[in-house]
């Protein structure tokens, strides 16, 4: 019997609302091997981030549970580090101090002061931020902030690195640079990584497997695509391979043909929710939004 690294078993999540519980996730099952890179993709509002937050331990699952190395996850901890969408660096600390906060917490008593300093610098070097160690987040660009966020997460030596739409708020070029950095880090360190994304190309480029989620409410795992592309991957050369085209097509057809987003009014009655969703969609996934728009146009016609 092989011991699975990370298991999500029958994970369901209800959020309380004035009209009774709202089932956001329904029986999500997923097994992830050590060192695997898994992307979770789906339309906005389908509960992708909820899955990640449950794995992180920030939300308790209503039913089912998460098991990491045969131990149930029921609280947050540094062995499951999170890279947040909006970097979440402490604005009053420099890059170095932000990483230091994590390192001091995780390695207190295990590393000497000099070792800690070296380890902090090493992690900032991994994300190519050694030149801005003494700058505060407001002096850094969006991409640089996200790099420091990744360095902070890596510095905890997590067993699983959770990335919550880490590049969603970045421009295309910066995003590509950071994707390369993440691939590099994964090659060197072999971390298990789970990434939430909106971006089909990003998912295919980075993942070993792509988990596609159905639309909420009661969202669950729809299909899983294995990406059998050899590593290291080259983002340009890769696009011409048959495997790349197959994966991309599989994801697109799942998202837009079989589980295409219905008109927004069908999904939710709360206008503020619709607005919030629109904002998210516009901010992070223009392609996604465009297709939704086309769909509603055709529906109107």
């Amino acid at each position: 019997m092989t011991i699975e690294h990370l298991i999500l078993s029958q994970v369901s999540m209800d959020f309380p609302t004035p009209d009774g519980p709202f089932r956001a996730l329904d029986k999500v099952n997923l097994k992830i091997k050590k060192g695997e890179f898994v992307s979770i993709i789906g339309h906005s509002g389908c509960g992708k981030s909820t899955v990640l937050n449950i794995v992180a331990g920030l939300y308790p699952a209503t039913e089912g549970g998460v098991i990491l190395n045969n131990k149930e996850v029921n609280e947050p901890g540094p062995e499951r580090a999170v890279v947040f969408q909006n970097h979440s660096l402490l604005p009053w600390l420099t890059s170095y101090e932000n990483v230091e906060l994590a390192v001091k917490r995780v390695f207190k008593g295990k590393k000497s002061k000099a070792e800690m300093k070296e380890w902090i610098e090493h992690n900032l070097q991994l994300v190519h931020m050694e030149h801005a160690m003494n700058k505060r987040p407001d002096e850094l660009s969006g991409g640089m902030k996200q790099r420091v966020g990744i360095a902070r997460a890596l510095s905890m030596e997590p067993q699983v690195l959770l990335l919550d739409e880490p590049f969603g708020a970045l421009d295309a070029l910066t995003r590509a640079h950071l994707q390369d950095s993440v691939m590099e880090i994964q090659r060197d360190l072999g971390n298990t990584m789970i990434m939430i994304t909106h971006d089909v190309d990003e998912a295919v480029l980075l993942s070993d497997r792509i988990v596609m989620m159905t639309n909420g409410p009661a969202a669950t795992v729809g299909e899983i695509v294995d990406v059998n592309l050899p590593r290291p991957r080259n983002r340009v050369a890769m696009t011409e391979t048959a495997e790349y085209i197959r994966c991309r097509k599989a994801v697109l057809s799942f998202l837009y043909e079989r589980h295409g987003k219905k008109q927004l009014s069908d999904e939710t009655d709360d206008p503020s929710l619709i607005e919030a969703e629109n904002d998210v969609a516009q901010a992070s996934a223009p392609a996604d939004n465009l297709l939704t728009l086309k769909k509603s146009e055709s529906a109107a016609a």
Binding site: A56, G57, E75, R80, R105
Partner: protein
Amino acid sequence: MQIQQRLTDLTIPFIGILIFLAIWQVGAPKIVTSLGAVPGPVQVFEQFKGLISEHNEQRDKEVAFIERQEVRNAKKLEKDPNAKVRIRPYTGKATFFDQILTSIFTVMAGFIISAFIAIPVGIVAGLSQTVYNALNPLIQIFKPVSPLAWLPIVTMIVSAVYISDDPMFDKSFVTSAITVLLCCLWPTMINTAVGVANISKDLLNVSKILRLSWWTHVRKIVLPSAIPMIFTGLRLSLGIAWMVLIAAEMLAQNPGLGKFVWDEFQNGSSNSLGRIMVAVIVIGIIGFALDRGMLMLQKYVSWDKNAALR
């Protein structure tokens, strides 16, 4: 271009003040009270000079008084080396400037002690909804109470409890300081609690994932996030404290600027109105200076040196 802008920025408030003074000078003599015509700025300035010379006179008297005692003591010791000698402190009338110092010292004492109570309580209330719910009704009820309503109670309690043969502070000082403290507590406490409760959720998640200890969480995440709100509260408190103190001093006849104003009012000489106006202006300037001082402290403490503070 920039210099010109600077110049305009400086001249405009100056012009505003000049216009105000002109209206005052022209308008004041037209109102005649039982103490004579209302003094204009020129007369008020004369009174200010009078208060300075009065202060210097008192200081000279004090020096002379101490010197006389020293001479007398020296003579006594000459006759009998074992004679007990002592120097009695000068007990002349407190001058305007003595009263200013008393008031500033009192307000700072009450304010600083209240900050040491209100900030920790506010942090705990901001972190825990339960504590907040428990405290909220009390805060809401006590906040609108004029601290002057507390004054009789505070006076009675202080005279009952604060008994010592060699008191470190005067009873009147303790009463005034506690009254100031009572009115300073609430704005600081509420603003701190709100600032702490509104810390960005992302930062709280970071703290959870790092499993920061309670103390590190407060030091590294809560305090820096809440600093702007804490200072908003502190500045509100200090502003109210200064206003309340003057009123309390008038009402309780405790030493300070308020007592000066009241004494002058009771005195009812032809100089009184002018002297009261000097006091009013000084009270305003000190209040302004206290607020600026807090702003400078905030700039020094705050991590965000670029934030616009006003």
